[in-house]
Amino acid sequence: MSLIQIILVCLIAAIAGMASVLDEGQLHRPLIVCTLIGLVLGDLKTGVILGGTLEMMALGWMNIGAAMAPDTALASVISTLLVITADQSIGKGIAVAVAVAAAGQVLTIFVRTLTIGLQHRADKYAEEGNIRGIDIMHIIGLSLQALRVLIPTLIVALISVTTVQSLLNSIPEVITKGLQVGGGMVVVVGYAMVINMMAVKYLMPFLFLGFVIAAFTNFNLVALGILGLVAAIIYIQLNPKYHVSAGQNRAAATNGGTVSGNDLDDDLDD
């Protein structure tokens, strides 16, 4: 890697670190991070493919309440870095990514505990009416999250390629091939998280509907997505529970009770 490449990789690492705590623009997701690292290292295609592979695995990893997901930012940066610079297979990339995601989760929990101190400093600044102070505390918190990904990335980037290569090449084939097999299955953890979050028993038929349609057709995801949307619209239009409330007691409360069909269109367009 040239010096400029190292700097750019570190920059991406810092942005991914901040994005992973913010969870706003999704610049910490494997699909984006791996692509960017691939771009910088001159192998866009490998970056995109690894990004897609890891994104599928991490589809359902989410931060909800106080629960932390495994760290996709650090995992994506380091795995892409190693796969491209040390010329490794996607399978080894997955292996590295999973190990790093677990380690990264510990790091992010550590930083989120550390920032409690900033919270108390912010309290003090509030007493003094010091707005700038509160702003600075917030920005320091964000910067710590950038460092959380930047520092490990820099360390890995500075290790010589031959060392990494011999280390990764010493992994026996049964492990890497096995990990690739596992990688095909491990996506279900993400699916299961999403399903658990949304599944109420009476909506489960839609899961099976999607499953069976996918099993016996060659529809792509766009087609399946549209079918799912149509199913959702029809379900809500026909569901008597929304008609009772729209027609009667809610009529006075909500804008004089417009026709429920129009309401629904608005809702789904939102």
Partner: protein, 285 residues
């Protein structure tokens, strides 16, 4: 520009009013809501950070200190749907600054009262449906090396996110406390239920199409009349019954373990261990 001058004129008449620029600046700051997330009060500093343009405009001296303090209280919700709460809080602060009898606990109460229900709506819609669906779409393109994949994900998700946040703040500010009566209607319930249906449907499809489990254990070798050889494996038998049956069963098994509070990381490692073991024993490929 002229609008801003106008609002400042109003301000000199004694009434304090937030400008469009204040609201826009709150929208920008709200994009950094989780920056200093911590395990004690979670998004508290971020919420205060979002409110600062309003606090700056409305309060001075001791009143300002009090306002800063009341927005450093515990706060946690789905980050995109924090925007309407920021809007409502701004509207209430504006009224309070103009002498309306609103005390601190009312503002805190409204914030706490809104963050639970909005997280309940936002988590399934954004984390449960939109991100996985758009992410899967992008990833399915990316796996073939297509650069459109990441772009689709980035662009579509962010259009939805920014629109939610931008209009969220405007809506909350305009509606003020009447947002609460909107929440009581069934619009949000419809939206959540619709999103859940879409999410479950797509998850069902993903379980089938994008999970690979292959059991290549050979059951029989057959040679038909033409001398053509066919090999029957466990997998080919399963596929002729219902493609994707094993992934579906595995998904339900994992889901039930997750419900029992098993750490997802252990499940991930466990599945990799099964993959290695299965490959070694030649029952998985």
């Amino acid at each position: 520009m002229s609008e801003q001058v106008k609002t400042q004129d109003v301000a000199t008449n004694g009434e304090k009013k937030l400008t469009k620029k204040d609201l826009f600046s709150m929208f920008i700051r709200n994009n950094f809501l989780l920056g200093s997330f911590n395990f004690e009060r979670m998004q508290a500093v971020g919420f205060c950070f979002s409110m600062i343009p309003a606090i700056k405009r409305l309060y001075k001296g001791d009143e300002r200190k009090k306002a800063l303090k009341r927005h450093l209280e515990f706060f946690n919700t789905q980050p995109f749907l924090a925007a309407p709460i920021v809007g409502v809080s701004a509207a209430m602060e504006e009224q309070k600054a103009n002498g309306a009898p609103i005390d601190d606990s009312t503002i805190s109460g409204v914030k706490v009262g809104l963050m639970g229900p909005l997280a309940g709506v936002g988590d399934p819609i954004f984390w449960g449906t939109l991100r996985p669906v758009i992410g899967a779409l992008g990833a399915s393109l990316a796996i073939t090396g297509n650069i459109i994949g990441p772009l689709v994900f980035l662009v579509f998700f962010n259009i939805l996110r920014l629109a939610t946040k931008y209009y969220g703040i405007q809506y909350g500010y305009k509606k003020g406390l009447s947002v609460i009566s909107d929440l009581e209607g069934n619009r949000l319930q419809k939206l959540t239920e619709g999103a859940s249906i879409l999410g479950l449907f797509v998850m069902g499809a993903l379980v089938c199409k994008w999970t690979s489990i292959n059991v290549p254990v050979v059951l029989a070798h057959l040679t038909d009349q033409t001398g053509h050889k066919t090999v029957t494996t466990v997998q080919s038998v399963l596929d002729s019954l219902l493609p994707g049956l094993l992934p579906l069963l595995l998904t339900f098994f994992v889901a039930s373990l997750l419900k029992k509070k098993v750490n997802p990381l252990w499940l991930i490692f466990g599945i990799f261990a099964v993959g290695i073991l299965g490959y070694w024993l030649k029952i998985l490929a």
